[in-house]
Amino acid sequence: MKKSVFFGVLTAAGLVAGASAAATLDDVKARGTLNCGVTTGLTGFAAPDANGEWQGFDVAVCRAVAAAILSDPTAVEFVPTTGQTRFTALAAGEIDMLARNTTWTFSRDTDLKFDFTGINYYDGQGFIVPSALGVSSAKELDGATICIQTGTTTELNLADYFRTNNISYEPVPIETNAEGQQQYLAGACDAYTTDASGLAATRASFENPGDHIILPEIISKEPLGPLVRHGDSEWGDIVRWTLNALIAAEELGITSANVAEMSSAPGDNPEINRLLGTEGDLGAMIGLDAEWAKRAIMAEGNYGEIFEKNIGETTPIGLARGLNAQWQDGGLLYAPPFR
C-alpha cells in the first residue's frame, strides 16, 4: 500500500516533468539565456579565459544556438558538469542542452532517454609514446606498460584491441587525465592512451613535445556531439540544424567575414539563400525567424573557423582535420541539404 502511493507520486512527478519539458524553446526565450552544460575543463573544448569568458570548441556550439534563438551569442549560462552529473543535469532540466564531448552510444541515446543532435567531433582512442622507445606502430607495443584511465570506455577498447591482435600489455591504472600526464612524464608507463584529441592537447603541454610521438593507430570510434532530452523534438531540431548550419556554411563558403554581405541580398546559389533566409522561410519551420542561421554563423564563424580557432593546426593543440574534414575533402562531415 505505502509502496504503491510512493510510486504513484513518483509517476506523477515524472509525468509533470515530461509535460514541462515539452516547451524548452519557450522556456529559453522567457528566461533570455540558454543553459548549456559543458565540461569542468578540457583543453580546446571548454575552459574560461582570464576574464572568465568561456572559450572552446564545444562552447562555440552553445554560443551558435544562443545566437540563433536569442540573437545574442553571449546569452549563455555555462553550467560546468562532471562525468557523473552531466546526464542527470540534462534529464532534470537544469540545462537545456549538453555540449560536453560526450560519445554517442546506443544506450545513451535509448536507455538514458536523450537525443544526440549530430556529431561535432569524430574522435578515437590513440597512443602516445616517447620517440626514444623506437616504436612506430601500436602493434609493436607487445609487453609494454600502458597508463589508462580506469572505468572508461578507453579501458575496454584497449583490452579488446590487444586481444584481437594477440599481444600482451601491462595496464597502469590512473584516475584523471592530469594524473596520466604526470605518470607518463615520470616514466611510470611506456605509453599513455586516451582520446586522440586529448593526446594532442597533452603532448602540446610537454616541455619537449618533439620527444613524443602519437602512434597512427586509432583503435575506437568516439563520435562526440551535443545532446538534448527525449520528448521535445522541436527543441532537438533547433540544436541539430544549428550544428548543420555551421557545417553547411563551411561547405558553401560562408564565413563570419562574408556572412553579413551574403545575407544582405539573394545571391546566385539558392541553397545559400535558403540558409541565410533571403529566400524561402526555413526559419519559421523551426519556430525561429529567417535570419537564425546567419546569426549562428556570425557568432563564432562556420565549423571550419571554429575548428581552426580552438583546436586546429594553428593552435598549440594542433589537430589536423582528418575525419572532421568536409566530405569533399575526404572527411565525414556531411550536412543534409537545406531545403
Partner: protein, 473 residues
C-alpha cells in the same frame, strides 16, 4: 689576634671574585643543542637524519621556487623566459598572478569585488564579539543580523528581501518569547512555529489542498467547498513576507545588482559554504545532542535517527543527493539554488558530528552537576543554559574545532558535483590552452590558503582553551 691578622691581610681578598662563565658545554646554544638534539646516540642519529631530510627537500624545492617567473602570458612563454635566464627548471608563478582573482572570487563580476570584500571585513566585526568576550555585548546584535547583510552583499537583489526576512524573524522571536513568558516554554515554541509558517509560507492554501484532498476521498461535494474559501481574497496575501517585499520593491526599488550563484566560486564559495555550515551547525548540533539525552521518546528517537543516518553515509553521497537526486523529487520548475542545497546538506552533516562531540562533553560532566542544578530549582532550559552547557561546551572545544577544520576542508568535495571551488578552478585553469600542463604552482597556492584558514582556527581554539581553563592543573 689583630696582630696576627695584620700579617695575613696581604693574602685575603676584600671583595668577591666575579663568577666564571659556565663551561662551554653547559651554556647557550651548545647546551640547548646537547640537551635537545644530541642527548643520546639515538637522538643524535635522528637529528642528523632529520637535518639531512630537511636539507634534501629544501635543496630540491627552494631553487625551483626562487627561480620562479612572476609575469608571463602562458606556460610556453614562462618556459622560454626560464630558458633565457639559464634555469633548467623553475616555478611558473605567473599563472597565479594572472588567475588569482578567479581562484579567490570565481566568476564574480570584477567591478563588484568590493561586495565580498566588504562582507568579509564586516564578518570580522560580527565574529569578534563572539570570539572575544572583552568586547561590548551590544555588538552581538550586529553578529545576529550579519548573515542577512552578508546574503544581501553577496547575492544582491532587492534590499527588501533581507529586510522582510529580518522583520519576520524578529516577529517570530518576539512572539515566541512573549508566549513562553506567559504560558511556558512549550507553548512559546508552538506560537513561534505558527508565526513562522504565517510569515514565510502559504498555510491557507496548503490547508485547503489537504482539506480538498481528504474531502475528495469521501464525496464530490467538497469540490464546491474550496473555491468558496479561496474567494476570501486572503489567499493572495500569503505567503506574507515575500508578498510584502515584492510590494515594497515596486514602491521603492532599492537594491544592489544581483549576482547569480553560478558566478560565485573559488575561495569565496569555500568560505560561504564552510562558514554558513559552521554557524548553522553549532546551534543545531547542540539541540541534537540535548535531544539525544532527552527522556522524551519521540524527540530522542528522532534525534538518534537523524544523527545516525546523516553520519553513517559519506558526505559525497549527500552532495550527490543534493545536486542530482533532489532534482527528481522537487516539482519541476522549482529553482532551488544549488549552493543553498549544498549548504543545507553540509550543515546537517556537520551538525550530526557536532552533536556527538557535545554529547561527549555532556557525558563527561559528573552527575552532581545535573543534580545541583535541579536542587537550585532551575527548570530544564535554565539548568542547561547556566550550568550544564557552559561546562560541556568548554570540554568539547578541541573536538568542535576539529570538526570545523575538517568541515572547511571537506568543502572541496563540491568539485565532484560541478561547483567551482578552488580545486574546480585549478582544473579549469589547467584546461586552458595557455596553462595546460601546469601543476604544482596552483596546488601549492590553494594548499597555502587553506592552511592559513585552518591554522587560524586551531590557534584560536588553543587561546580559548587557555582562557576558559578554571581547574588548576
Amino acid at each position: 689576634m689583630s696582630e696576627t691578622h695584620s700579617f695575613t691581610v696581604g693574602y685575603v681578598r676584600h671583595e668577591m671574585q666575579g663568577p666564571l662563565p659556565p663551561p662551554v658545554a653547559e651554556s647557550g646554544a651548545v647546551k640547548w643543542m646537547r640537551e635537545n638534539l644530541f642527548s643520546s646516540w639515538l637522538n643524535a642519529i635522528l637529528t642528523v637524519v632529520s637535518l639531512f631530510v630537511i636539507w634534501w627537500v629544501l635543496s630540491h624545492t627552494l631553487p625551483w621556487m626562487l627561480a620562479g617567473v612572476w609575469s608571463a602570458s602562458s606556460l610556453t612563454d614562462c618556459r622560454n623566459i626560464l630558458a633565457e635566464r639559464g634555469y633548467s627548471s623553475g616555478a611558473c608563478w605567473a599563472v597565479i598572478t594572472e588567475r588569482w582573482p578567479q581562484l579567490i572570487f570565481g566568476f564574480y563580476p570584477s567591478e563588484l569585488y568590493w561586495r565580498p570584500i566588504l562582507a568579509f571585513v564586516l564578518l570580522i566585526g560580527a565574529v569578534a564579539p563572539v570570539l572575544y568576550t572583552s568586547l561590548p555585548r551590544k555588538m552581538l546584535w550586529f553578529s545576529l543580523i550579519y548573515p542577512l547583510i552578508a546574503y544581501y552583499l553577496l547575492w544582491g537583489g532587492s534590499v527588501w528581501t533581507p529586510v522582510m526576512l529580518a522583520v519576520g524573524f524578529s516577529l517570530v522571536g518576539m512572539g515566541g518569547t512573549l508566549a513562553s513568558n506567559k504560558s511556558g516554554f512549550f507553548f512559546g515554541v508552538l506560537i513561534a512555529i505558527l508565526i513562522f509558517l504565517l510569515m514565510f509560507f502559504d498555510p491557507l492554501s496548503a490547508l485547503l489542498n489537504v482539506m480538498g484532498g481528504i474531502a475528495g476521498l469521501f464525496s464530490a461535494d467538497s469540490v464546491r467547498l474550496s473555491p468558496m474559501i479561496g474567494s476570501l481574497a486572503l489567499r493572495d496575501l500569503f505567503p506574507l513576507m515575500p508578498t510584502l517585499s515584492d510590494l515594497l520593491g515596486s514602491i521603492a526599488p532599492i537594491g544592489l545588482e544581483s549576482v547569480t550563484s553560478r558566478e560565485i566560486g573559488g575561495f569565496l564559495l569555500a568560505l560561504v559554504i564552510g562558514l554558513s555550515a559552521i554557524v548553522f551547525s553549532m546551534p543545531l548540533g547542540i539541540l541534537l545532542a540535548l535531544g539525544r539525552q532527552s527522556d522524551l521518546f519521540i524527540i530522542n528517537k528522532v534525534c538518534v535517527t537523524f544523527i545516525e543516518v546523516i553520519r553513517g553515509i559519506p558526505l559525497i553521497v549527500w552532495l550527490f543527493t543534493a545536486s542530482t537526486l533532489l532534482n527528481y523529487f522537487l516539482p519541476p520548475g522549482t529553482t532551488f539554488d544549488l549552493i543553498l542545497r549544498v549548504i543545507i546538506m553540509v550543515t546537517f552533516f556537520a551538525a550530526a558530528y557536532i552533536a556527538e562531540v557535545i554529547r561527549g562533553g555532556l557525558a563527561a560532566l559528573p552527575k552532581g552537576q545535573y543534580e545541583g542544578a535541579d536542587s537550585l530549582g532551575l527548570d530544564y532550559w535554565q539548568s542547561m543554559r547556566l550550568i550544564i552547557l557552559p561546562q560541556a561546551l568548554k570540554i568539547s572545544i578541541p573536538g568542535i574545532v576539529n570538526t570545523f577544520i575538517g568541515l572547511f576542508k571537506d568543502t572541496v568535495l563540491v568539485v565532484f558535483i560541478g561547483l567551482l571551488d578552488p580545486i574546480g578552478f585549478i582544473n579549469l585553469i589547467r584546461a586552458t590552452v595557455e596553462w595546460n600542463g601546469i601543476y604544482w604552482e596552483l596546488y601549492i597556492f590553494v594548499g597555502l590558503c587553506f592552511f592559513l584558514f585552518c591554522f587560524f582556527m586551531s590557534r584560536y581554539s588553543q587561546y580559548l582553551e587557555r582562557k576558559l581553563r578554571t581547574d588548576h592543573r
